[in-house]
Amino acid sequence: MGLRMGQYLPLDSPIHRLDPRTKLLVTILLGLASFKAPYPWGLIIIVSMILILVAASRVPLYHYWQDLRPFVLIILITAAIQLFLTPGDYLIGHSPLIITQQGIAGAMGLFMRITGILLLARWLTATTRPVQLTNSLETLLHPLRRIGLPLHELLMIMTLSLSFIPLLGEETVRIQRAQTTRGANLRSGNLLSGTKRIIAIIVPLLRGAMQRAAYLAEAMEDRGYEAGGHRTHLYQQKLALSDYGLFTVVAAAVVLIL
């Protein structure tokens, strides 16, 4: 229990004070650069920039580690595949596990790219409220309205869907706990009993999710929400000197490296 994965952390830092549009654009730029930057120096510069942003966010490293942890195994397996299966100049090992110079470069590069992108994603969500992110997306994608795209509605659906994911997680834990206290064995058993257990959780979970969605729709309509209606924003977006400065530095670095 405690904080949910990707949850906003209300701290006071220069990064928290930045305009969310700047953070979104910086994330997109550095994310793309993490994929495309040449190994080693280009990638090292990009990852260093990400690490500087992470440090400036004043979010304790524990919270980054907490969200990175579920991906550690996948990162290690992918890096190991790169390490052992990349053909090139022989360095050490016996067939079929041979480490080559290219293998080390590939594994290191992959490790840095995936870790960098995950850190960046956490940096953005830890320092920006979801509603600010949605508003930023709406502003940045505003031109698409001209071709008739119901942008606001689509983003509202996206925000609500994203906020439902952790709620479904909490709901699952709630049902499991309710069943555990009444003697349900959630661990052992064969395939058939395992399937039954999953169904016993999924059915009330879906029923609860549909009910929650209906309540949410009612609550939104009761408070005057109307699809297509004009809405104002609680968080006003305003670009400051620091926004222009950060964006210029990041954009320049990315252009130079790529």
Binding site: G2, Y62, Q176, A178, Q179, T180, G183
Partner: protein
């Protein structure tokens, strides 16, 4: 045999800036047949403590032992500990009332007539008529009825220990009376041990023979008494809002007269006050 907590500590978010210590070094034993109150202000850690005792949450430090055995989580109690959650919405998950109440007994291996009897008895004990409620959907009943369904679901398993989080919340007078009577009866007949969390314990006071008071995650008081004045004194020291009956008896005691032999049963308190008033009028 008792259920024992040894130096139990727990915090939300083990590390980082949002770490919050919820329970700090809690140790006590709950003895067979006891009905103990777990009281304390909001955020004191009462619900978390119940969840730890029910084997739903793992403490950071310390152990919970049942019959001197440390329990493996989650739910390693084999139905010996029944827990009523703070909100019935957290507990009720089946589509209809019969399935909801039968869930526990089915896990205990009951079938056929025995299962039906367990469900019917549990429903009747909380004042739900089986012929009226058995087939109804859990979404189409009031929150008070849902609370009773949740209690029946726990009672149907006949656990040795009951951990009840606000059992009377949302119940009207009659339903609350039925639940209090039911708790009293199963304690008397089966010797079921109970730990009850209550914000306003007024009507539950006659049930309690022990009071555990939590404050900021620490167990600050653990005392046993039936005396209304002693209980009022301790609750006041712990800054817990006094039930009206206890507040009244405390004022009367301060004003003079002998009130020390009265137990913390509001009915008894009001009866004694009425008798004194009658006697006084008679003297005049």
């Amino acid at each position: 045999m008792p259920i024992t907590l040894e130096q139990v500590s727990f915090s939300w978010q083990a590390e980082g800036v949002f770490k919050k210590q919820v329970l700090n070094n809690i140790s006590f034993s709950l003895h067979e047949g006891e009905i103990a109150a777990l009281l304390g202000p909001e955020g004191a850690g009462k619900t978390t403590l119940l969840q730890i005792m029910a084997g739903l949450v793992k403490p950071d430090r310390g152990t919970v032992k049942l019959d001197s055995r440390t329990i493996k989580l989650p739910g390693g109690y084999d139905g010996q500990i029944g827990m009523l959650f703070q909100f019935p919405e957290q507990q009720v998950f089946e589509l209809n009332i019969y399935d909801e109440i039968a869930f526990g007994p089915k896990n205990q291996g009951l079938t056929g007539k025995k299962l039906q009897t367990a469900v019917y008895q549990a429903m009747q004990s909380v004042g739900l008529k089986p012929e009226e409620f058995l087939e109804r959907y859990t979404d189409n009943i009031s929150s008070g009825e849902k609370r009773r369904v949740a209690i029946a679901g726990v009672l149907a398993m006949q656990p040795r220990y009951l951990l009840l989080d606000e059992p009377l919340a949302g119940l009207d007078y009659e339903a609350a009376t039925a639940v209090i009577e039911c708790l009293h009866n199963i304690n008397q007949q089966r010797g079921t041990t109970m730990l009850i969390v209550a914000h306003k314990p007024d009507r539950l006071l006659p049930l309690f023979n022990r009071y555990l008071i939590l404050k900021s995650g620490r167990l600050i008081t653990d005392f046993s008494s039936q005396s209304a004045l002693s209980i009022a004194h301790i609750l006041q020291q712990a800054e817990i809002e006094l039930p009206v009956s206890l507040e009244l008896i405390q004022h009367l005691a301060k004003a003079g007269g002998e009130w020390s032999g009265i137990t913390a049963d509001s009915d008894e308190i009001y009866r004694k006050i009425a008798t004194r008033i009658r006697d006084k009028k008679g003297e005049e």
